[in-house]
């Protein structure tokens, strides 16, 4: 079946729904959001904890409530949200092949917004050696296994080790404890605030060196920075954080990626290298909270509308790179308009000196107050990206302590 829509949004998580809501409300025509899972709403659907803003009365919103609101908003604005539909590849520019229980489809759009989100690197991608027993999870799988909507048939385990120190590790600890699982320890390579984990012992500066067990996990060997090892007895290990964008569709199209994030390179208005194709949300960087992803979806809508109005696709911007102890920066391309930069440090940085330079010339240099943490991005306002020479070499964002 061949069809045409005005805007096709791939992914009904916070970013995709926010983009669709704004676009439909602004009269973009037929705005269709595709979701491969059986329900729309994205990752927040599985996060049964507050921390997703407030409802109309000021009460805290949990993930499922936040997801429901986002879906409702998109529907009210007039967008179509289709679940259980997978985009399996491109049939040409702005044309996607879909698989759904109702059959195969080929849909052409005037604009495509990729909002396919991110996932955590599992144990294999982290090259953790050892045997391959059951009981090895990512926090995403843990959340889905323990989701309130799921009937509780198979307990996760009895004793768990959580790997990682970011907020997502704290959530994993909370989820495990709520499910009656004893958390033996949190193992974190970087420095973390022990108090955040309550009574659970936190092994900082420590990495998982080996998994043990045949059939079921029986323990993990951990190694401290000084080389000493210990084996913790457990039947479950949860790897958290370490995000990688779900960039399959973007790469299948051949969109260039940003090395630091592995997400598609976009300019400040979320335009990719391919005219008509946009990318928003955690597909660009992974690991950002739902409101950040949603804000990107909303922000992208203006550029989508400009495209639908027939305004030309701008020429490519100047690439942005990082130097020093910074993991990544987005957007990956800078154009004539100054936009905020999102920067993620590689490690904890106390009052770092941040610089923006191009072709050996320092464009900006400022010492930030406070501490940057590797699990939190810092947003640099648009003035940081002003003064860039569009004919020059890559813009380099650096940091030193």
């Amino acid at each position: 079946m061949n069809r045409t829509v005005d805007v096709l949004v791939v992914g009904a998580g916070p970013a995709g729904l926010a983009a669709a809501t704004r676009l439909a409300a602004a009269g973009a025509g037929r705005v269709e959001v595709l979701e491969r899972e059986r329900a729309a709403g994205g990752v927040p659907r599985h996060c049964a904890r507050p921390g997703f803003g407030a409802d109309a009365l000021g009460g805290p919103l949990d993930g499922p409530a936040y997801a429901r609101r986002a879906v409702r908003a998109a529907l009210r604005a007039g967008a179509t949200v289709r679940t259980g539909v997978s985009a399996t590849g491109w049939a040409g520019p702005l044309t996607l092949d879909l698989t759904a229980p109702s059959g195969l489809e080929r849909v052409r759009a005037r604009a495509v917004v990729l909002a396919t989100g991110a996932r955590e690197r599992p144990r294999s991608a982290r090259l953790v050696p050892g045997s391959r027993p059951a009981g090895v999870l990512t926090s995403g799988e843990l959340q889905r296994l323990t989701a309130p909507s799921r009937r509780w048939r198979e307990p996760v385990g009895k004793r768990a080790v959580v790997v990682g120190g970011e907020p997502v590790a704290r959530n994993a600890v909370r989820t495990l404890r709520a499910a009656g699982v004893e958390v033996v320890a949190v193992v974190a390579e970087g420095r973390v605030r022990r108090a955040a984990f309550g009574p659970v012992p936190v092994l900082v500066g420590t990495a998982v060196a080996e998994l043990h067990g045949r059939g079921r996990l029986t323990g993990v060997t951990v190694q401290a920075g000084d080389g000493r090892t210990a084996t913790l007895r457990c039947d479950t290990v949860v790897f958290t954080g370490d995000w990688i964008p779900d960039h399959e569709l973007a790469r299948a199209y051949g969109l260039p990626l940003v090395p630091g994030t592995r997400g598609p390179a976009t300019d400040g208005a979320f335009r990719t290298a391919e005219p008509g194709v946009f990318a928003v949300g955690n597909l660009l960087h992974g690991g950002e909270p739902a409101p950040v992803a949603a804000a990107e979806g909303r922000a992208a809508a203006d550029a989508v509308l400009a495209l639908l109005d027939g305004r030309p696709w701008p020429t490519r911007g100047v690439p942005v790179e990082t130097a020093g102890p910074l993991r990544w920066v987005t957007p990956g391309l800078l154009g004539p308009v100054s936009v905020p930069l999102l920067v993620r440090p590689e490690r904890r940085l106390v009052r770092p000196l941040l610089t923006v330079g191009q072709d050996g010339v320092v464009l900006r240099r400022e010492r930030l107050d406070g501490t940057l943490a590797p699990w939190r991005s810092v947003r640099l306002p648009p003035r940081w990206s002003s003064g860039v020479d569009l004919a020059g070499g890559p813009v380099v964002v650096g940091a030193e302590e």
């Binding site: 997978s86 698989t99 759904a100 996932r119 991608a125 050696p129 059951a134 296994l145 989701a147 060196a209």
Partner: protein, 472 residues
């Protein structure tokens, strides 16, 4: 015909088997399938809860031509025959095979000098189609190869294959043709006797006129139960890395190392699932359960892989695993008939066992006849058509007619590998249902992709509970 994992084994008169094949790996299953073409009562038993759960599940998944076997050995003959038989069988049953061909890449002068000798050896093994490639020809065939490749020997006919479907196809056909498959059925004692041997298992006693030992790594231990000590099996570990599907475009052939004084080296090969495999290591161990990977092993593989195909290291790793192959200190199979015991040992089946499996089975049928087994007339086995797991062949999520008939084949559950609910349901209801989630992965690829279950793990577990062993 039956498949059992629990409960007592059949007892009483009429419950005797003509042949019991111990070990349901690729070799044991092939033997059972071959015997199933005769009016014989045959049982296939295994200690694990699934077929192909040992060496067979974790290998390099290559259908060898046998070009580099030692000429004149039993292995050389059976690999050559096996390649022909399995190629035809794969077409008939739907086992994914991609005949991509192999290139033996020489990285230094010494290796280049060895290529003509390897071509000559191939010719002695009956492979006359090998061809020398210059550095420039090699570069145009494999543009992503690292710097320093000097030349290569092209070996047409080498192919990549799905090892999981192969074992499962044999066992499925055996069961549908009347073989009893007893899983979770470790043999603890053997009491040889006449006319029946008695096998004491965890689930009761099996009686058999003839025995076949296809125990792989444990072939020596089973021999000992029967009172023979002809050889010792030393596990040789091979660690392997499987890279993401986006790496698939980096390599077009199986890139084989040139064997040299510093060891056999590692290969880079496409997989039929659309990934790229790097490995294996070769480590002689003593522990037959040591299927773990090590930090040193993985680091070494990455280092070697980075020289062969530098861009490979930029791609994500999808899976990491290790397999153990059965080394016996002799560079040949150790297949022996013991007519007085009405017993055949199929030992020392090394990494070529997947390729040779059907030829080994034919060979064993002959040896059983030497041991006094009259197989009776031959009949066609039950037909099997296996679900396709290969990327080069049509998969259900792209099949409009199939989805129209059954919408569950349009419902993708495992997004990384694009496995549909219909395929998972079909696997759970198949002739040999999986014993667990790993068995389900080997039948469907579900949970085997880049996210390793992050997205679909919970859903797949729920389906397994609903339709699988958990529901029984």
């Amino acid at each position: 015909m039956s498949v059992s994992r629990t409960g007592p084994l059949p007892v009483g008169s009429g419950a005797e088997y003509d042949v019991v094949v111990v070990g349901a790996g690729v070799v044991g299953s092939a033997i059972a399938r071959t015997l199933a073409r005769h009016p014989l009562r045959v049982a296939l038993v295994d200690a694990a809860n699934d077929v192909g759960d040992g060496t067979s599940k974790a290998n390099t998944a290559i259908l060898h031509t046998g070009f580099d076997a030692t000429p004149g050995t039993l292995e050389a003959r059976l690999v050559r025959e096996g390649h022909r038989l399995l190629s035809a069988y794969a077409r008939e049953t739907g086992i994914p095979v991609e005949p991509v061909g192999a290139l033996l890449v020489a990285w230094d002068e010494q290796q280049r000098a060895a290529l003509p000798r390897l071509a000559e050896k191939a010719a002695r093994n009956g492979h006359h189609a090998t061809r020398m490639l210059t550095a420039a020809e090699l570069r145009s065939r494999e543009p992503h190869l690292g710097p320093g490749a000097l030349a290569a020997l092209e070996v047409p006919g080498e192919a990549v294959i799905c090892p999981w479907t192969t074992t499962l196809a044999y066992a499925t056909q055996a069961v549908r043709s009347g073989v009893d498959l007893h899983l979770d059925c470790r043999v603890e004692k053997v009491r040889p006797g006449d006319p029946y041997h008695r096998l004491v298992t965890r689930r009761g006693v099996l009686r058999a006129r003839h025995l076949v030992n296809a125990c792989g790594l444990h072939a020596d231990a089973f021999d000992a139960l029967v009172g023979r000590e002809d050889f010792t099996v030393t596990p040789r570990r091979g660690q392997l890395l499987v890279f993401d599907k986006f790496a698939r475009d980096l390599v077009r052939h199986i890139l084989l190392p040139v064997p040299g004084p510093l060891g056999k080296g590692v290969l880079v090969a496409p997989t039929v699932y659309g990934n790229v495999m790097l490995g294996p290591t070769a480590e002689d161990l003593t522990d037959k359960t040591a299927t773990g990977t090590t930090a040193e092993g993985l680091a070494g593989l990455r280092e070697q892989g980075g020289r062969i195909l530098p861009a490979l290291l930029d791609e994500e790793v999808t899976a990491v695993y290790a397999g153990l192959r059965a080394a016996t200190g002799q560079e040949d199979y150790r297949i022996a008939a013991h007519p007085a015991l009405r017993y055949v040992t199929v030992g020392g089946i090394r990494s070529t066992g997947l390729t040779a499996s059907l030829a080994i089975a034919e060979h064993v049928r002959g040896l059983l006849a030497d041991c006094g087994l009259d197989p009776g007339p031959e009949r066609p086995p039950a037909r099997v058509r296996m679900p396709n797991l290969g990327e080069a062949f049509p998969r259900p999520y792209r099949d409009a007619r199939l989805i129209a008939r059954d919408p569950e084949f349009g419902e993708i559950v495992c997004h990384c590998e694009r496995v549909t609910r219909g395929e998972i349901r079909a696997a759970l209801a198949s002739t040999i249902p999986p014993g667990g989630l790993d068995g389900l992965r080997r039948r469907t690829r579900a949970r085997g992709g880049r996210c390793q279950g992050n997205h679909c793990g919970a859903e797949v577990r729920a389906l397994f509970e609903e339709y699988g062993e958990g529901a029984r």
